[in-house]
Symmetry: C2
Subunit: 553 residues, 2 copies
């Protein structure tokens, strides 16, 4: 830092580089609105007061506030590459991200992580990549690679990763699995993932060094986790929307222990609603003071992750800020990162250098499937998976017969082992076809769901070696979104991917299914055996609470 220059500018002896004149500052430190000129010197604020600058921007009627921090997300969820994601999200005011490249790591390992790092290089935002801690999410899974503690350490060190990504293997932590504990040694910052864990097991999980959680489902759960020292990330994803519930846990006293995150957002929501700005708006709709909501979105996350002097408009603090037409940041007019204007009126002012995809394509390796592979005798003794709108939590239920149910299969796709798990699902109500995809948390095997084996087999075989999402109706492929990058992300620009996705949505619209759910997003979580309560993997139906298969097959 050129200390002399910023002092000269702050003292008013020298012109600032940029001044937002006559504006209203959202003061997240004091909880107030302050009128004045915001002076920027290099990458820092010089101060709020009366200033002139080389560049002066009229801030009349505008709000200047710290830019936002998405405390936990997987870029992969939006199904475009991270550089495309950031071209959309930075202009919406989010300049800091804790990104866990967990999905691509499950398919491509270190090569996938390096692809993500390469893809965002030079983009004006703080992108803190976390080291995926659970690849695969659980030893029962079959993913594209297995990263043990030694791998985790090697990759985190050689890639310079910020922290350890969500430690989903809470039984491994609480049970002192040696490999899991060795992973915890890799970084002091350890994100958590402990849905429904409480009491002494939660104490054990936190005492192990885990400091955040983004899986709270209730006010009670959030309050317990806060009192026990966790930062609670209020998640507003696309499939999992916890904000309206969890915001009730926040009060003026515990406010500093809450952050916002998206975890998983689809491209429609990213483009249509945005991410953290959307959380701010929703929080205010729920009755929160806008300054408090912005504090959660900015200062709190920086504090939680030990990022000094960032997340507020104050002298010497990093000049990451927004100029907005409204106090809830719905109309973000300008985005500054480290003192430089990087986006204006929703458009990025920066260019990106997309990374070479050749190392992360062609990742789907299966033996072609037949309709016979997609059949499974119904047995009323076997539990059925019940799904619900608005959550990825499921239940095991009993059913008398297969009527009204769908069959779902999980096909191992990394090593062409031929392993296929089967179960019946209640709640999709899909009729006359099938959907299939290579996105299936966290091992990203192929998930296919349908009401007849022929359409299901066609759907799977239509995925190709690159993978994607497909819709089959009555024996005909009617929609496909190719996801060349690891079978998870499109290599096309976001606009093209969005158009392709919209076409897919149109195809989906031709299908007969339960309109309260988003089939592809929900399907992608029905193989995730660290989220309660029953999930399907390539071996069979797994109970998370019992941590065992309900049946294999």
């Amino acid at each position: 830092m050129d200390r002399k220059r910023i002092i000269d500018v702050a003292a008013g002896r020298e012109k600032a580089d940029v001044v937002i004149k006559n504006t209203t500052v959202v003061d997240v430190l004091g909880g107030s609105l302050i009128k004045g000129d915001v002076a920027v010197c290099g990458d820092k604020f010089a101060g709020v007061g009366s200033y002139s600058g080389v560049t002066e921007i009229d801030g009349t009627g505008r709000y200047v506030m710290p830019s936002f921090y998405d405390a936990h997300l997987h870029f992969e969820s939006v199904m475009v590459r991270p550089s495309e994601y950031l071209k959309i999200s930075v202009p919406k005011g989010v300049t800091a991200y804790n990104a866990d490249p967990h999905e691509i790591a499950n398919v491509c390992g270190e090569k996938g992580i390096r692809f993500m790092l390469d893809d965002v290089r030079g983009i004006p935002a703080d992108i803190r990549f976390m080291m995926p801690s659970c690849v695969p999410a659980a030893p029962e899974d079959h993913s594209g690679c297995v990263l043990g503690a030694a791998d985790v350490k090697r990759i985190a060190d050689s890639c310079g990763l910020f922290g350890l990504g969500e430690m989903m293997n809470f039984p491994g932590v609480v049970g002192c699995d040696p490999d899991v504990l060795a992973k915890l040694d890799v970084r002091p910052v350890i994100d958590g993932h402990a849905p429904g864990v409480s009491g002494n097991p939660l104490n054990a999980y936190i005492a192990a060094g885990v400091s955040t959680d983004h899986e709270c489902e209730s006010v009670e759960e959030a309050l317990e986790k806060v009192s026990k020292g966790m930062y609670v990330l209020i998640r507003e994803g696309s499939q999992t929307r916890n904000l309206r519930t969890l915001i009730k846990a926040v009060n003026k006293t515990n406010l500093r222990r809450f952050l916002f995150c998206t975890d998983d957002r689809n491209i429609e929501d990213l483009v249509g609603l945005g991410t953290i700005g959307n959380a701010v708006r929703l929080a205010v709709e729920c009755g929160m003071d806008p300054i408090d909501a912005i504090t959660i979105a900015s200062l709190n996350a920086n504090e939680a992750y030990g990022i000094k002097n960032t997340g507020a408009v104050a002298p010497g603090w990093t000049a990451d800020f927004l100029v907005c037409a409204d106090i809830t940041a719905q109309r973000v007019e300008k985005v500054f990162y480290h003192g430089a204007l990087v986006a204006e009126n929703g458009q990025p002012l920066f260019s990106v250098s997309p990374a070479d995809v050749s190392g992360v394509t062609g990742t789907v390796h299966i033996k072609p499937v037949t309709a016979k592979d997609m059949t499974f005798p119904f047995d009323p003794a076997r539990p059925v998976m019940r799904v619900f709108p608005g959550t990825v939590v499921t239940e095991a239920v009993k059913a008398d017969g297969p009527e009204g149910l769908n069959l779902m299969c999980c096909i191992e796709r990394h090593d062409a082992s031929g392993d296929i798990g089967h179960c019946y699902v209640d709640g999709f109500r899909l009729r006359g076809g099938a959907v299939a995809q290579t996105v299936g948390h966290d091992s990203h095997n192929i998930t296919v769901l349908g009401d007849n084996p022929e359409d299901m087999a066609l759907a799977v075989n239509s995925l190709g070696s690159d993978g994607g999402l497909v819709v089959v109706k009555n024996g005909r492929l009617i929609g496909k979104l190719p996801l060349e990058i690891a079978g998870l992300m499109s290599s096309a620009p976001a606009s093209e991917a969005l158009a392709a996705r919209e076409k897919l949505t149109e195809a989906l619209a031709e299908m007969d299914y339960n309109r309260d759910i988003e089939p592809f997003m929900l399907l992608s979580f029905l193989t995730l055996i660290v989220i309660p309560d029953v999930k399907l993997n390539h071996k069979g139906l797994f109970s998370v609470s019992k941590w065992d298969y309900l049946y294999r097959g």
Copy 2:
């Protein structure tokens, strides 16, 4: 950290080392009271829940809370060595200190700092010594040594000091004095000292990297400093008592930006009232929620200084805590530091190893003074220093004659230069004698005040080569507190020093003076030319606001 063991304990599979059973936890993270057993494993909390331990302590009717942090103090002010200070303050619940050995550094330089470090070695508390940044406080002063930027860096590095102590030279910071700026490079943690500074100059001071302030005198000043990114230390010293004013600046929104400190406490207050626990009690008396007050006293300071996972009772957090009979910590029954019981019922359970004093005694070097040296013709054109109860801020006033005033002299005592500054003082109303002392912030020259030159000369000459505080009445030395260590601290045990101090107070009681002031404490600040508005040094009367002498002589 033995991660496996703490997990086993937290999970309840293994006995904790210590459990406080059936107690009430003051939860500063969630802002609530929680009933349960507090389990300790090694130096950390395993959790609050249902636990059994090797040692079990009944916590029924008791409150368990994080121990306290004094965010800024000078041990020297209490006039006993730091090990004696800590034997009193640790049992009162303060286990963390940011101590600036600024006073002894002004007398003895690096040797003095090392004495302080040596004296506290092995004491069970986090004693973070700051590197004195302003020795002398201003270039106009004559102290025992001059520490330039190179010295500051060398000493801070070789002594492993935590941060840069209060940067009092705000004109030097705001004016970009190269040596001052070079000092700011020494440590990222920089404590401030900017009484009354606001607006653009305050922006400049903060932009330079200063992150705290303990000199606020008004709510408005505190709020401006908080909004500009400072942590505001609410000071409740012995002479400067800002709590009742500043506590009004604290609300639920900005609470996290406030800390408590004592800065300067005398031994009577240390023993009688305590320090940070006293601030908690006063804050509650002023209407603050006890949990909020304890949050300021514990969590906030740890956050402000980047001390991770300390300052709350939560799994994996450092087990520095108190067992109290009341929620405002007035009856501290047990003090635990890093999981070990270190004090009980007001008594330390630890021993100390006082450092050798031989290098820091015999520090008073003056030419013997005569009554003639202690005379100064009254000139109505020269301003008079007006002092007030309860503050060390002074004013320059006019007076028609010397009636009702006292003469004060500041005698350089490090190099026997013979320099003596003189001024008249309004507000002491001392009659028939003199007081003199070698404690005089920050250069610790001799300050003497009286109503006749003979008594003043006797007082000065009675200080001896070791220095101390003396009282002379009508030609007779009636009280003396020897302060062998740098002329600032007694080398006697605290109980003896307190007894000697009480004798001195008795001697003082024989004197006729304004009873609303504490003469020795106030006198010790009347030479501090970084506190407004007029102060006396060895050269003459200095205006802090004009940053120049009003006259020399």
